[in-house]
């Protein structure tokens, strides 16, 4: 823009500077972190992990960004706080020794204090300033500063001083997290959101079906886009992790690589020769339709390629799976012993879904697999209800896809439901869906496999019969009977015999027909020769007749000419008559 122009200036303003929060997942939701150089309010009920979030913000700032921090706590004593967060692997005393962290416990003992006239919180500023200067802090945490309202009776002064404090923090350009207890119907008990209004994060710990789920929500973020949903979060040995459900859900890259299913004929049914790497595969079916066996093939193939796999077993113990797979000729034990395969077995109902998820996430981060199997995911519905289970699977899918891990779910469908219907919820998450069915006909149960969908590739539309042999799974073409029924097992064998007989009969019929035609051809050829001979004889006859006729005619002319010559001797007219005849 040239100076002096009267047009309003619509140039995009520089983006708000953000400070990585150090909370896994939160930076994705906030598109980069909390506002740098400004205070952020974190509110929630007692026990909603406000302090933990704040401490993790400081610890990660020190560990990952070399930004020193100050923790000013108004509630907990420093020793208690240090002890509480030690279980999360936060070694605060070491950071204090390294001059990266200052913890200051601000306590006002009510019975010790007599208020006489006007006062201010100047000493708090002095202490905070001294602590910041001592380590060159870029981040500070004021843990439940609202305690001041309980300690000091003149709330007007406290309000004015807090307003001054937040202005002072902004002026110093320090990124701050201020925690606050949730009030009755309000975000904070004393209306702190009025002063700290750039970014407000709410934490929540709710009980659903006797299982507690922690949730985080960005209530406001001035001047920045942010995910507006409620996001579940977990606390484990690595601190606090937010699990964005939809915010980053569709940002993962798509690989063109194909990996084998472990069954050559199934590879052939999939147009590209296997599953896409990083895709999600679902094998659903009733009990005993070889879902686990299918998963074991996939694992075995991956291990043979030298990839790392995690098998999350929710119904069987690892030893049982290993034993059972040996019966179809798959030796999973060698992979388990040599390293590429890791079994993780637990009952879905033993832990809440969130804890399961955190457990998986942790293991996936540590083991860094290329292939993961969850067998079966249907059991999570028992553990946490259908909606919760679906939300969890969605997060599992996000988690795996972000890391480019190919994941296979097995799902047990109850016999009375149609397979497709009962899986309607999960279907949208799945890239390749294999349906395994049990057919019972003529006192025999047989298995079939069909591809319901396989995103991004052509695939066979035909069901195949799945044969469990001592040497892995084999697939056989199924026969469709006269009445449109699928024939498998011995019915398929019978049909194969029938078809073979039909083919033989057809071949015989063709041969005899061919002989008949040959005979007919010979007959026709002979007949043609005969007729040609007849024709030739007739032509000869005709020629002979014509010859006689000509001979007769020429003798007649000759005799007439002779007659005329005889008459010429008497006049000319008879000569003209002779010429007219010619």
């Amino acid at each position: 823009m040239t100076p002096g122009q009267s047009k309003p200036d619509f140039r995009p303003l520089p983006q708000m500077l953000k400070c990585p929060s150090g909370i896994n997942g939160l930076d994705e939701i906030t598109e980069g972190g909390i506002p740098r150089g400004r205070p952020t309010l974190v509110c929630g009920e007692a026990g909603s992990a406000k302090t933990l979030l704040a401490v993790q913000f400081l610890v990660r700032g020190i560990q990952q960004h070399d930004e020193a921090g100050v923790l000013m706590c108004f509630e907990e004593r420093s020793v208690d706080l240090v002890r509480n967060v030690a279980s999360l692997g936060f070694d605060l005393p070491a950071m204090i020794d390294d001059k990266k962290l200052v913890i200051d416990h601000v306590l006002i003992e009510c019975d010790e204090i007599q208020e006489t006239g006007a006062y201010n919180l100047g000493a708090l500023f002095v202490r905070l300033g001294a602590a910041i200067d001592a380590v060159g802090a870029k981040r500070i945490v004021l843990d439940t500063i609202e305690v001041l309202f309980a300690s000091l009776s003149d709330h007007g002064i406290v309000r004015a001083e807090l307003r001054r404090l937040f202005t002072w923090i902004k002026e110093r350009g320090i990124t701050a997290i201020v925690t606050s207890e949730r009030g009755d119907g309000t975000l904070t008990r004393h209306g702190l959101e009025e002063y700290v209004s750039d970014c407000v994060i709410q934490l929540d710990n709710r009980m659903v079906d006797q299982v507690a789920t922690r949730r985080l929500r960005i209530i406001k973020y001035r001047g920045s886009a942010h995910g507006s949903n409620e996001y579940p979060f977990l606390i484990d040995g690595h601190g606090l992790t937010v699990l964005p459900l939809t915010a980053i859900g569709l940002q993962y890259p798509a690989s063109q690589d194909i990996i084998s299913t472990g069954i050559p004929k199934l590879d052939a049914m999939l147009g590209r020769g296997g599953y896409f790497r990083g895709s999600t595969v679902l094998a659903s079916g009733n009990a005993g339709t070889a879902k686990t066996t299918l998963a074991a093939h996939f694992i075995d193939a991956a291990c043979q390629r030298g990839e790392r796999c995690i098998y999350f077993a929710f119904e069987e113990s690892p030893d049982q799976i290993v034993r059972n797979m040996r019966s179809v000729g798959i030796d999973l034990d060698r992979w388990r012993k040599t390293g590429p395969l890791h079994f993780a077995a637990s009952r879905p109902t033993s832990l809440g879904l969130e804890v399961h998820l955190s457990f998986m996430l942790k293991l996936v981060q540590e083991f860094a697999p290329q292939v993961v199997v969850l067998d079966p995911v249907s059991s999570f519905e028992q553990a946490g209800g259908a909606n919760e289970a679906l939300a969890m699977l969605m997060r599992v899918v996000d988690m795996m896809k972000l890391r480019g891990i190919t994941v296979m779910f097995t799902s047990l469908t109850s016999a009375e439901h149609s397979t497709e219907r009962s899986e309607a919820g999960i279907s949208s998450l799945i890239d390749t869906w294999l349906v395994l069915r049990n057919l019972e006909e003529g006192g025999e149960r047989t298995r079939t496999i069909a591809i319901v969908k396989s995103r991004g590739m052509m695939h066979s539309n035909q069901a195949r019969e799945l044969l469990l042999t001592e040497n892995r799974i084999d697939l056989a073409d199924v026969f469709i009977g006269q009445d449109g029924k699928i024939l498998t097992g011995s019915a398929r064998h019978a049909q194969e015999m029938v078809e073979r007989a039909i083919v033989t009969a057809r071949q015989q019929a063709i041969a005899s027909k061919r002989a008949g035609i040959a005979r007919k051809q010979e007959f026709v050829i002979a007949r043609v020769a005969e007729m040609q001979a007849e024709l030739a004889a007739e032509i000869d006859d005709l020629d002979a007749t014509i010859g006689q006729q000509e001979a007769a005619a020429s003798s007649l002319i000759r005799s007439r000419v002779a007659l005329a010559r005889d008459r010429e001797q008497s006049g000319s007219a008879p000569l003209l008559h002779v010429m007219g005849v010619h």
Binding site: V106, E109, D111, I113, Q114, T116, A118, Y119, L121
Partner: protein, 123 residues
């Protein structure tokens, strides 16, 4: 930097029960509030304590280490270091009755001070 301030326990040994009050007044620079507090405590000291007191005025902003180590939050704060137990009075000391009560000079027996508890709910 100011000379190191003797800790309370040392004070007790240095000044046996002489009846003198040992006071520290933390203020924030030469503001109106600070000056008012200094004027008030001086007046009270002359009137009610007949000069039997030692007062140290500390500028919290200048002596931040002291402010930190003594866990001062509010300014002005008057600390009665002796006699024990220590007591704190905040504000500009404009309410004479409150100040006297806070310093234990309101005629009531100083020994009647209730056992203190850290639990704010038990008051």
């Amino acid at each position: 930097m100011s000379p190191p301030v003797p800790v309370v326990s040392a004070d007790v040994e240095l000044r046996p029960e002489t009846g003198r009050l040992v006071l520290q007044l933390y203020v924030s620079g030469a503001t109106a509030g600070s000056l008012r507090a200094i004027a008030n405590i001086t007046a009270i000291g002359e009137d009610s304590m007949r000069g039997q007191y030692d007062l140290e005025v500390i500028d919290a902003c200048q002596q931040s280490d002291l402010t930190c180590s003594r866990l001062i939050v509010v300014l002005p704060t008057l600390v009665r270091q002796l006699p024990l137990p220590a007591r704190r009075i905040v504000g500009d000391l404009s309410n004479l009755d409150y100040v006297l009560r806070g310093l234990g000079l309101d005629g009531a027996d100083t020994d009647e001070i209730e056992p203190r508890t850290n639990d704010p709910d038990v008051r």
